[in-house]
């Protein structure tokens, strides 16, 4: 794979020669945030490279992005050029040979941890699993400082957790502050005895925290809480260390009809311009130099998508048995 600095020029020339005029993108990023990204991308292409391009955006949830990508490829239908979605789904797309390896010049601005070692995807933004609480119901002095504080008797019956957060769970069991898997499991078993409310959906949980139905949530996304806070809702997010981060990233379709534009989109999303758009819409960009407050001041660890997928069934069941089941 060519990794020279003039790769962008080669991509532009390739796009022109291949007569690529549209990019087909499948993403799980919501329209409100992906629309500005796309608009800036097309302007960037036009201004810098005199490329006029139309982007066909298909937005769904990450599971559907995965399903559609796989089913289309299995049936020999190659509609999509690039993907932007959760890393476990990107990992699966890679395994199913729907996507292929790639490299663009902006890779140099990122640490190795921001991309798949096999070269099949690159992180563009992070979802941070933080705790969150209702500021009317939880006094500043009572705010927990560590995971173990959640085991205090005063939290009994007041906490909620999402029913599907086994990726958060496995990451903490393996790399949490307890030193060993047995001790971590002991923590989770005690956490269960706190009469956890099981809820479905992180945004619903954040809203219910704002409304006072849930005083303390253990797993919400901090960018959700930040948005509610900006509207005046009584909610605050809380980084219990280490915070678990789940990367979202980009990947290139193996049978893309517009491979040059696909790569240009990836390059743009990882560039300073693209990362700034993501930050501007309240996301947490994956570039460590980005000046956002959402990834500062706390220690975080990455959920490893490869391990997640290899042991998905085991951890899903263990999470369910340990925390969800009554």
């Amino acid at each position: 794979m060519y990794k020279g600095d003039d790769k962008i020029d080669m991509l532009v020339a390739g796009a022109k020669e291949n007569k690529e005029t549209e990019l087909n993108l499948y993403t799980s990023m919501n329209l409100e945030d992906s629309t500005p990204l796309i608009n800036t991308f097309t302007k960037w292409l036009d201004k810098n490279y005199k490329l006029k391009v139309e982007v066909n955006l298909w937005r769904s949830n990450s599971e559907k992005v995965l399903q559609r990508g796989i089913i289309e490829a299995q049936n020999g239908r190659f509609e999509v050029d690039a993907f932007e979605t959760n890393s476990p789904e990107l990992e699966t797309l890679g395994r199913e040979t729907v996507t292929t390896q790639f490299w663009t010049p902006s890779f140099k601005d990122f640490p190795d941890a921001a991309r798949d070692p096999k070269g099949l995807w690159h992180a563009t933004r992070y979802n941070f699993f933080t705790a969150g609480y209702n500021t009317n119901l939880v006094k500043p002095a009572d705010v927990p400082k560590t995971y173990d504080d959640l085991l205090l008797p005063k939290w009994k019956g007041k906490m909620a957790i999402d029913s599907d957060d086994w990726d958060w769970f496995v990451t903490l069991v393996k790399q949490g502050p307890w030193g060993s898997e047995e001790k971590a499991m002991e923590f989770f078993r005690k956490l269960k005895e706190q009469d956890l409310q099981i809820r479905k959906g992180h945004t619903l949980i954040s809203e219910l925290v704002s409304s006072g139905e849930i005083p303390m949530a253990i797993t919400i996304y901090n960018h959700n809480a930040e948005r509610l806070k900006a509207k005046g809702a009584p909610i605050e997010w809380l980084p219990l260390e280490p915070v678990v981060a789940r990367p979202n990233g980009v990947a290139l379709a193996a049978n893309a009809k517009n491979p040059y534009l696909g790569l240009m989109f990836i390059e743009f999303t990882l560039s300073k311009d693209g990362q700034e758009v993501l930050q501007g819409v309240g996301r947490v960009p994956s570039n460590p130099k980005a000046s956002t407050s959402l990834n500062k001041g706390f220690k975080y660890i990455n959920a490893d998508p490869e391990a997640l997928i290899n042991e998905a069934k085991k951890w899903e069941a263990l999470y369910h048995d340990t925390l969800v089941k009554k």
């Binding site: 919501n30 049936n75 809203e207 006072g212 509610l228």
Partner: protein, 582 residues
């Protein structure tokens, strides 16, 4: 020998006339309708069954035949427990929906209760509201912690603890039953409209009391419809997802469908296991449809619309009409006013919150401007409008023919057609989406990636409703009307078009409105099947929900309710001008 030869050449037999007899206009239309319905429903069924007998397909692992999915599904010790919880939930919700719908329909169609004209239009609003929103509004009303009703009742009666709990099997049945009751009401309205009330009038003449007439005559005559509604509500609650997920899960009440959901949302999606679970829902439904067909085999017993003209005259209730009015008002408080109040309140708030005096200061119009300027929102709205109108029209027309076959024809095994048209009701929407994807990526019919695949999905999903609505009205029609048309020399098609369709009108209009509304809302297949260019409004709704923009969602809900009311009023005006007078 000679005789035999002549017989062979007689005009009534021989291959040529056999062809002529088989290829009459009637048979061609019937065969075409059956083929279309069969195609729409059996394709996903085959997919479901084959999928439940295969291992998952992956890049380094080809799918093989297996019974393992069934073994896993039915040897799990929890399955029985989940199933019995599901049954309690589904039976409770179905009885509640049926009871409310029937009572309300009787009040509006058969009595002189004041303001009953308004009720029909009002009862449609709950249908358009996203189920997620109405469920959440019940948290805001009945939660022990923040529920408004709990707070008020607690203060009024000086109670020490909140009297109601949304997070219980009772709370779940209440929410689901209420949610299903407008559909039950619509179906019962159609039934009452196409039921000649002369028997009820005779009963009253003979001195029967109002409730005696209701119980002994009205209910007995409406028995096929009642069974239909029960079946449809039962199956819908059996496969309901929102209420169990939002109200049951937090307190550990799990139902059968959450298993299907889990199977589809694990990595990789376990279609085989989900299919194996879905097959048992299919078996239960088939049993129900079989009993229904036994019931309507003697359809003439329920036929009230005969050659004689009829005009329903409302029963005079005297003072009791205020009691029935009170029931109506109370019902609309629960189904509409309270949830809509929470909804309206939220639509004007910056974030979702329990209504309060302090909130008055933060009222805002931002949500409405946000919704109206959201990317592609108008485009999506128009697409939804075309699709919902198209699906409703096709379904109503197709099922009118199929219900004629199942109710009026003497074709052997006709109940199977009824069952086939009912099948899509139990397919999880997601499986339907995936199966349609496979089908149209494989078959040389170029609708994949276009808006047409959504039309196919909606038609398939809502055939069962068209079927219930039309078949219950069909049961009420006496054969003598058809027979006299045929005696007068009308062709089958002419009879069907000029006699049967107009008489089916009350049911067909109700079906059209209902299917229009639910197609507008359909998400679980849409979310996989839509493509750039064929965006629809339900995806926007889902998007707001996913992003936690509940207040924007509420604003959209309010706008959609207004748009829906306009469509419904227009439909009613048009339908009044076409066909028989009501």
């Amino acid at each position: 020998m000679a005789l035999d030869t002549t017989r062979n050449w007689s005009p009534d037999s021989g291959p040529v006339s056999l062809v002529r007899r088989l290829f009459t206009g009637q048979n061609i239309i019937i065969a075409a309708a059956l083929l279309v319905v069969g195609y729409f429903t059996l394709v996903p069924l085959v997919f479901l069954i084959v999928g439940s007998l295969r291992t998952p397909q992956a890049a380094h692992q080809t799918a093989v035949w297996t019974l393992d999915n069934y073994v896993r599904a039915y040897t799990d010790p929890q399955t029985l427990q989940l199933f019995s919880t599901s049954m309690v939930f589904a039976l409770g919700s179905a009885f509640l929906a049926l009871g409310l719908g029937t009572l309300l329909a009787w009040i509006t169609e058969r009595t002189d209760t004041p303001a009953r004209g308004l009720i029909f239009a009002l009862s449609l609003i709950p249908l358009i509201l996203p189920g997620i929103l109405s469920t959440i509004s019940w948290i805001f009303l009945l939660s022990p912690k923040i529920g408004l009703i709990n707070a008020v009742v607690k203060a009024l009666f000086n109670l020490s603890s909140p009297p109601f709990n949304a997070y219980s099997i009772g709370g779940m049945i209440w929410t689901e039953g209420l949610h299903l009751s407008p559909a039950a009401y619509l179906l019962m309205v159609a039934t009452f409209k196409s039921m000649d009330p002369s028997l009820e009038e005779s009963a009253q003449m003979c001195g029967a009391r109002v409730w005696q007439t209701f119980y002994r005559i009205t209910l007995k005559m409406a028995w096929p419809s009642i069974f239909s509604i029960f079946l449809i509500s039962f199956v819908r609650s059996l496969e309901a997802f929102e209420v169990p997920a939002i109200l049951g899960m937090p307190v550990g009440i799990h139902v059968f469908t959450s298993r299907i959901y889990e199977a589809l949302h694990s990595w990789p999606a376990d279609f085989g296991l989900a299919g194996a679970y879905a097959i048992s829902l299919l078996a239960i439904t088939s049993l129900g449809v079989y009993f229904y067909s036994r019931l309507t085999r003697q359809a003439h017993r329920y036929a009230t619309v005969t050659g004689k003209g009829y005009k329903p005259a409302p029963m005079r209730l005297g003072q009791w009409k205020y009691a029935t009015l009170a029931i109506v008002v109370l019902y609309f408080c629960f189904i509409l006013v309270l949830p809509l109040f929470v909804l309206l309140w939220s639509a004007f708030q910056p974030f979702y919150s329990v209504p309060s005096l302090a909130g008055l200061k933060t009222l805002t119009l931002k949500n409405f401007t946000y919704v109206l300027t959201y990317p592609k929102v108008l485009h999506s709205f128009l697409n939804s409008l075309y699709l919902a109108g198209g699906a409703a029209t096709v379904v109503v027309f197709l099922t009118a023919i199929v219900s004629w076959i199942t109710v009026k024809s003497k074709i052997r095994g006709r109940w199977i057609f009824d069952n086939i048209a009912f099948l899509p009701l139990v397919f999880p929407g997601l499986i339907m989406g995936v199966s349609l994807m496979f089908v149209y990526l494989t078959l040389p019919i170029p609708i994949y990636g276009t808006i047409w695949i959504l039309l196919v999905a909606y038609i398939t999903r809502y055939l069962p409703y068209g079927m219930r609505y039309n078949s219950t009205s069909m049961v009420q029609l006496s054969n003598e009307l058809e027979e006299s048309a045929q005696v007068s020399g009308a062709s089958w098609w002419r009879t069907f078009y000029s006699i049967i369709l107009p008489l089916l009108k009350p049911g067909a209009v109700a079906a059209w409105i209902y299917i229009f509304v639910v197609s507008f809302r359909e998400l679980s297949s849409t979310i996989l099947l839509y493509s750039p260019g064929s965006e629809v409004l339900s995806v926007t709704i889902w998007e707001f929900w996913e992003n936690g923009q509940y207040t924007a969602l509420c604003a959209l809900g309010v706008l959609m309710s207004i748009a829906l009311l306009v469509v419904v009023l227009a439909t009613q005006t048009v339908s009044r001008k076409v066909g028989v007078k009501e």
